[in-house]
């Protein structure tokens, strides 16, 4: 299976493990991730205003580029996924906005909103299948209690994202189960870590992150997995009592391709 792949800027610098293991695991699962040429930063957050056009062009270009690869665009960073998916939704549902965007793109490059945008987790669930993921497990993670941390961007707004039930998601838990580990359900898994507010109000984001890690820890988790570099940063920086890793790292470990040394 060939799909277009949008890594995003953080994955090229601070979140290399998220990217590297995503690629390695995809190889094992016979998915070929074709990196979009000349991709640009998604912008980090989606501006909900209908009159913000320029900031959404990079996402539209990435969506458009996926045409070469079965019209499927895969992201692995939650933030990129959120931005690109919301942009795609706006292109499909707001004709005025779509018109303005296409005016920027120039003749012949118009984008019609038909690309399917999938998060790596959705790719695993809906295209590869968790049964097939389970078949590739070499080192079963049996006995490990893993807390999935969704944060906000992967799930909300649900009317656009449709990733999973935003109040009781299972997409990461099902992956954890497929890898042989035991998922831990805790109430803060879909609440915000503080996000970019860490830049100007670190105390506040520390408060939010504490709530999350405490909730996971108290529910008996050994480990937190996430799909978002900023979530990982916030949780770790604010003293998570348990390790926080990317879900791709957990997969790599189960597939036996995780490198021991710290990358």
């Amino acid at each position: 299976m060939k799909v277009a792949y949008f890594p995003g800027c953080t994955l090229k610098t601070k979140a290399k493990e998220l990217d590297r293991y995503a690629r390695k695991c995809a190889e094992i699962l016979d998915v070929s991730l074709e990196e979009v040429e000349d991709w640009q930063c998604c912008g980090g957050v989606f501006t909900t205003s209908r009159d913000e056009v320029a900031t959404k062009l990079s996402s539209v270009r990435a969506l458009s580029a996926a045409k070469k690869n079965n019209n499927v665009l895969v992201t692995v960073c939650s933030a990129c996924h959120n931005v690109i998916k919301q942009t795609n939704y706006a292109m499909q549902n707001d004709a005025e906005f779509a018109q303005r965007v296409n005016n920027y793109l120039g003749k012949g490059e118009e984008y019609d909103g038909t690309t399917e945008i999938l998060h790596y987790l959705e790719l695993l669930r809906d295209k590869v299948g968790y049964d097939n993921v389970a078949k590739k497990v070499i080192n079963s993670l049996a006995g490990k209690k893993v807390a999935a941390y969704y944060g906000c961007l992967l799930l909300r707004p649900n009317s656009v994202m449709h990733t999973d039930d935003p109040e009781n998601p299972t997409i990461m838990e099902d992956l954890i189960r497929a890898l042989g580990a035991e998922p831990v359900i805790y109430s803060e898994r879909n609440e915000c870590c503080g996000g970019y507010i860490t830049l100007e109000n670190p105390e506040f984001s520390a408060l939010r992150s504490h709530k999350v890690t405490e909730s996971a820890y108290n529910s008996g988790a050994d480990l937190i997995v996430t799909a978002c570099p900023l979530c990982k940063y916030n949780l770790e920086k604010n003293g998570s009592p348990i390790p926080v890793v990317y879900f791709t790292e957990l997969m790599a470990e189960a597939f036996g391709v995780k490198e021991d040394a710290n990358a």
Binding site: D165, E167, N168, S187, E188, E191, S215, N218
Partner: protein, 664 residues
């Protein structure tokens, strides 16, 4: 050619004030077909009616035009007058020269001119009128009530009391419905079972009532007065007439792990069960999904212990066919599923419950014998949070909740909060509300008592998230009046889930050709003036299947529906409105266009033999309108591509004649 009489009414000065009635009478005298024309002060008076009667006889009138007030006012009066003089009542037409003319125009010249034109149109129409004779159909003097909750029970009792036989079809093994699950009723706080179960016994003992429990309506054919219904009596593997309801089988059955639906799955029952002690009929039922004997052929313990010999593992579903004159839908409601509202953690914690579950937890016959204990650990909760409007008034989420107000939640939540504080004064009770809606007799007083006398904390705001943490539930909520976000450590959270019509209602509505709204509530024939009738003749509505209702309202509506049924069954023959559609068989090509638009299913097709040239015959499929079912809307007349369909009293030719008369 008709012989038409024109009668122009002055209506005192109401008409004569702005219309020169004499000029109108004079002008209409020269219209085609008119042989007599006159005017009088009050045509509707005794003397006025005499004038009409005498003119009919003296001038051998075949048609009458009365220029007077709206036909909605006195059409029936003048039809009776004509009938008394031996004229077919449908030969009368009214020209509305009061509401449509004299009352809205000030100028005599203008008014008179318009009145003449309106009269002219009526004369043109009468020229094409034909005598109509209302059809008559016999009435089967038996009623069917679908649903055996308090609505169905009350309707059946009232109909039976009037002397007519009634059958109740209930899909569960017992009648009683939701009210049987409720602990106490607001605002009087009498015990629901104490007022319901005697009624259930009355039903069982009433000679006019038959109960088909564990049964479903499978097919409905026919029309008002003459419904033919197939009822499926599901196999309960117990002979109903032999079982004594002693309950030994339900104690001995080894299959103990069946979720007890009567207690909403909060405890277990056996595979053979009687839903509750006061069940009617008090007969055991074997749950085929769990019975070891039925699944594997090994066990048979219940048959061994049954001294009456009532167990029959070979029982099959049975189809009963019966005739009814009237059908009452009383299919009731259910709380909605809360799967999509997991911000309240209903699926994540046993201690987040619905209000109906709360009823069972406080009911002496419930899983905790009436002690308020947490489902998770059986401990007494000290802080309880009630959340109102869970899924009600939810416009953003058609797939999640309901746009309407469920109406009963404010009151039962006040009841729950009050009873909790009454029985367990050491418990803190919070109620989060958007609005408290208490229109009803003694309702607001009741709610205020909960606040003022029982110390329930009512907070204007909503709960945003419930987080299970250890054995506590962290409730994050808003207090809008204080402009605060609250964090309450609760032991139990009770959700006032929206209510929705029972899922079976839609298929029943389809069978009855009764219409439903977008929420699957049955629609009334008229929302104000005919609230217990469905638009389909002979089908009546009782209880929450028509919209959210509390018990007193349900019972009133149930009795009202019964009164309508009694009124129908008391007739020996039904006289139908003769202004119905009819098909010209020679023109009809059997295309089904008419049947497709008919909202009542009044049109069927028959094969008819037609004489063809050279003494041959041919059989063609042609439309046939059942005049007892047709309501005379005329949708079919326009849909018919060949112009074969027409409507009595509003024939195309008549309307065209009116158009021509107006445009002349």
């Amino acid at each position: 050619m008709q012989r038409i009489g024109v009668f122009v009414c002055w209506c005192g000065s109401n008409i004569a004030g702005t219309v020169d009635v004499k000029a109108v009478a004079e002008a209409l005298r020269s219209e085609p077909g008119v042989v007599f024309s006159t005017d009088y002060q009050y045509m509707c008076s005794q003397a006025g009616q005499e004038i009409i009667k005498e003119a009919i006889k003296e001038h051998k009138l075949t048609g009458v035009v009365v220029c007077s007030c709206s036909p909605r006012m006195h059409e029936a009066t003048f039809r009776k007058t004509a009938q008394a003089a031996g004229l077919n009542p449908y030969m009368v037409e009214i020209a509305n020269i009061r509401e449509q003319c004299s009352w809205i125009h000030k100028d005599m010249e203008t008014g008179t001119q318009k009145a003449i034109i309106l009269g002219r149109a009526a004369v043109a129409k009468v020229n094409l009128n034909a005598p109509l004779i209302p059809g008559q159909t016999p009435v089967t003097k038996r009623a069917l009530v679908i649903g055996g909750g308090i609505a169905g029970i009350q309707t059946a009792l009232d109909i039976a009391e009037a002397g007519f036989p009634v059958d109740i079809v209930e899909k569960k093994p017992t009648i009683g419905g939701k009210m049987a699950q409720i602990d106490k009723t607001f605002p009087t706080l009498d015990c629901a079972a104490c007022i319901l179960t005697p009624k259930m016994v009355d039903v069982a003992q009433n000679e006019n009532i038959r109960i088909f429990s564990y049964s479903e309506v499978q097919e409905v054919k026919g029309f008002v007065g003459n419904f033919n219904v197939k009822i499926k009596k599901k196999a309960r593997f117990v002979k109903e007439d032999v079982c004594t309801g002693c309950g030994i089988c339900t104690e001995k059955c080894p299959q103990k792990k069946v979720p007890n639906e009567f207690n909403l799955g909060m405890d277990n029952r056996r595979a053979v069960y009687i839903p509750f002690a006061q069940a009617v009929p008090k007969v055991a039922t074997i749950d085929a999904d769990y019975c070891t004997m039925l699944k594997t052929g090994k066990c048979g313990l219940c048959a061994k212990v049954c001294t009456a010999g009532a167990i029959d593992y070979t029982q099959k579903d049975e189809i009963i066919e019966e005739q009814y004159g009237a059908i009452v839908a009383a299919t009731g409601f259910n709380p909605i599923s809360l799967d999509k509202f997991d911000e309240y953690a209903y699926n994540q914690s046993k201690d987040v419950i619905t209000s109906l579950e709360f009823e069972r937890l406080t009911n002496a016959a419930g899983p905790t014998a009436g002690k308020l204990l947490r489902p998770s650990d059986g401990k007494h909760p000290h802080t309880i949070v009630f959340v109102q409007c869970v899924g009600s008034r939810c416009a953003a989420c058609a797939d999640k909740g309901k746009e309407y107000c469920s109406k009963i939640c404010c009151m039962y939540t006040a009841k729950h909060a009050m009873l909790t504080r009454d029985k367990y004064p050491d418990t803190d009770v919070y109620v989060f509300y958007i609005d408290v809606r208490t229109p009803g007799k003694n309702f607001d007083e009741f709610y205020r008592r909960a606040v003022e006398e029982y110390g329930v904390h009512y907070i204007k705001g909503m709960v945003g998230k419930v987080s299970p943490q250890g054995d506590k539930l962290m409730v994050q909520a808003s207090d809008l009046l204080a402009n605060k976000q609250l964090h309450i450590e609760a032991d139990l959270v009770v959700l006032a889930a929206a209510i929705e019509p029972d899922k079976s209602a839609r298929s029943i509505a389809t069978m009855l050709t009764a219409s439903m709204d977008t929420n699957d509530f049955f629609t009334e024939a008229h929302p104000k003036l005919r609230p217990v009738e469905s638009p389909t003749a002979g089908v009546f509505l009782s209880g929450t299947c028509q919209g959210p209702k509390d018990i007193p309202e349900t019972v009133s509506q149930a009795s009202a529906a019964a009164a309508k049924v009694i009124g129908l069954l008391a007739k020996d023959k039904l006289t139908s409105n003769p202004c119905v559609a009819h098909a010209d068989e020679l023109m009809c090509n059997g295309c089904s266009s008419c049947a497709n638009v008919c909202p009542y299913g009044a049109i069927s097709y028959i094969d008819k033999e037609f004489r063809m040239p050279n003494r041959t015959t041919a059989i063609r499929r042609v439309a046939s309108v059942n005049p007892a079912v047709c309501q005379g809307c005329g949708a079919c007349t326009v849909a018919c591509p060949s112009g074969a369909m027409d409507l009595n009293g509003f024939e195309s030719a008549q309307i065209i004649a009116e158009v021509d008369a107006i445009c002349r």
